[in-house]
Symmetry: C2
Subunit: 411 residues, 2 copies
Amino acid sequence: MINNICFSHPFDNNIFESILDETQYVGYYDLPNQDLGYLDNFYRQMRLRIKPEIITDIVIIGIGGSSLGTKAIYEFMKTRKKLARKIHFIDSTDPNTILSICKSINLQSSYFFIISKSGTTIETLASYKYILSSIKDIELKKNNFAIITDPNSSLQKYAENHDILFLNSSPDVGGRFSVLSEVGIVPLWFCGIDIKKLLNGAKSVKDNFFMKKLIYKNILTKGSFYSANQKKYNINALFSYSDAFQSLNDWYVQLWGESLGKKHKTTQKNIGLTPVGLIGPKDQHSFLQLISEGPRDKTVTFLKIKNYENNYKIPKASINNLEEFDDLNGIRFSKLINLQADSVIESLKNYKEIPLDEIIITEQNESSIGQLIFYFQLLTSVVGGYLGVNTYDQPGVESGKKILKKYLEKL
Amino acid sequence: MINNICFSHPFDNNIFESILDETQYVGYYDLPNQDLGYLDNFYRQMRLRIKPEIITDIVIIGIGGSSLGTKAIYEFMKTRKKLARKIHFIDSTDPNTILSICKSINLQSSYFFIISKSGTTIETLASYKYILSSIKDIELKKNNFAIITDPNSSLQKYAENHDILFLNSSPDVGGRFSVLSEVGIVPLWFCGIDIKKLLNGAKSVKDNFFMKKLIYKNILTKGSFYSANQKKYNINALFSYSDAFQSLNDWYVQLWGESLGKKHKTTQKNIGLTPVGLIGPKDQHSFLQLISEGPRDKTVTFLKIKNYENNYKIPKASINNLEEFDDLNGIRFSKLINLQADSVIESLKNYKEIPLDEIIITEQNESSIGQLIFYFQLLTSVVGGYLGVNTYDQPGVESGKKILKKYLEKL
């Protein structure tokens, strides 16, 4: 992974020291070094109940941090290699979404993960209750389901009393930082992702950061710059060149928005930076005009894949009346998409006052997505430190939940 | 369609007068009243070449304004009713996207629309050349393709010389305003969308606006407010409650960003408002924290569907150990999703200083999506007028295209 930054900013070491402190009680920092023994244990227990060989589809019932990271890795990898199982995500209360997923699977060959760290996520429980009621076979309700939840949640008690397989997630890892914990690892492993490579990718970024190598400098530079310019540049766009990054963008939006949009720890002022996820080249025809000629309120991070496995080319032959496109002849699509990114980067440099950086991963594989995940998590922690917010809570979503509860009680 | 606005702002009539002027030369205003005779004509010509009955799949090769609007309407309608044909969108140079669509279709039963108003869109031509080269059957290359392009483009000349069916799009309708023109209407009609209902929906909004009914007041109020507060509230979020709105959000992002992100007509200052598309309830677990506790830099428009066709309920039965969710029992998912929206709206009102409005469409049908399309187009024109930008051009994307051309020539 390479990260080239087109701006500079001084930074001091205090934030790094506070991150070092955090590693004592914030759980996600340890995840790249975790012991994966729980996977064998889970598989043994699962095999007492079902034949894993006949499972073709995995359904994750979970929303926000319980699904976004898993989806990011799954969608990134699935265009690259044939995975053992398909994953479906029920992450809504939209009745049409739930119905269309239920219609597309065969219950006998599906395995469900109910994922809610708190055990009280209303969307997840509503969908779970609905799906349970649509299954007639009592054994299937027990055996084809697993629950992932924090210790001692009501969901865990439910699982214990109903003889359903469950696995505890780590309570010191927040939802949006949980993709490399049990929450993401178990379903991703079951669908055929190489978990060791994924964690090794994350570990390489972690080690480089804590050994103060180049990534340390880059992350601290970006963090201090974003924080110092939070009023001027209140929007941080991630411009990802490949459709495979769509769900990574969505994951980034949650990580960034929910971690950094907070009242300041001491002043109580409303602080935050707004994430925007873009896909290239599509969004060159949508959002680029606003970046280039709109107000100077955005930083832009470009994300590219250096080498694609797919080496399809635009045909060499010229076509009558379309000769003006002959420059494309014989060029690989993978080359073209990266040239498009480079052209936009160069043009935005000419536009001035748009702080840019680019991240280039070598290939589309588990290691590189692991690197990206950990890079953005570390960057988020560092920016949160600079901004003076609590990066790991989300008090601003509680009030809506309470109002919903009142509405429901009234009905 | 209902639009409730929780803020007020004075507006004068000058912008309305300038919009009236625009209707003389900006083509999109006329689209709700268009003569659809070209559809019969197109169908007659198509039938001289193929049997439409055997076509099951439509592939649109087009990017930006040539596909986003069509996708918005198609995705919105396809969960609501069974459409005659499936639409696939090749809107990228990502080699894996192109490959996976090509793999998923049967050429004999597929019909391709190559859509580029300028006729010079590099992504579209690259994909088209690739797909042509992968087809062996010469007749199929001629007969299963149609080209939609502005008059006298090189693509039109190509079509004429190669005996390929083509249809002209209206040069006075810009790409991002073109969904209700030939660009969107032809493929949507062929896939089974009721075009008359769609246009009637748009027409009802148009007529209400120009007859200065409630929508006129709402759009002018929002436009004047957004413009007057462009520095403070530089972000406009559209929070849409239903997964069916995902592509409408993407369409909105292009319409808003590319129309309003401009140099000011006289001062040449960088002007613009940044669109953000959100989906509820998913993004309650992602972006909501930033809205509620982050800086007061966002307006939020909520979008809801009043009545869903799908009336699936959460089962009535209580479940041991999950009694805390019994308030959900017997509630329709469609009721729940709207209660979630209402709870968030109420909670954000309490947070203060977040300018809110809500749009409620009655049902998920052609008429309502036509209304939404025209509402957002009118709003964009009005905001563009207030901001003092040219709403209909996009000069800021040319420089990247020129750089790409140089790169390609060098290769």
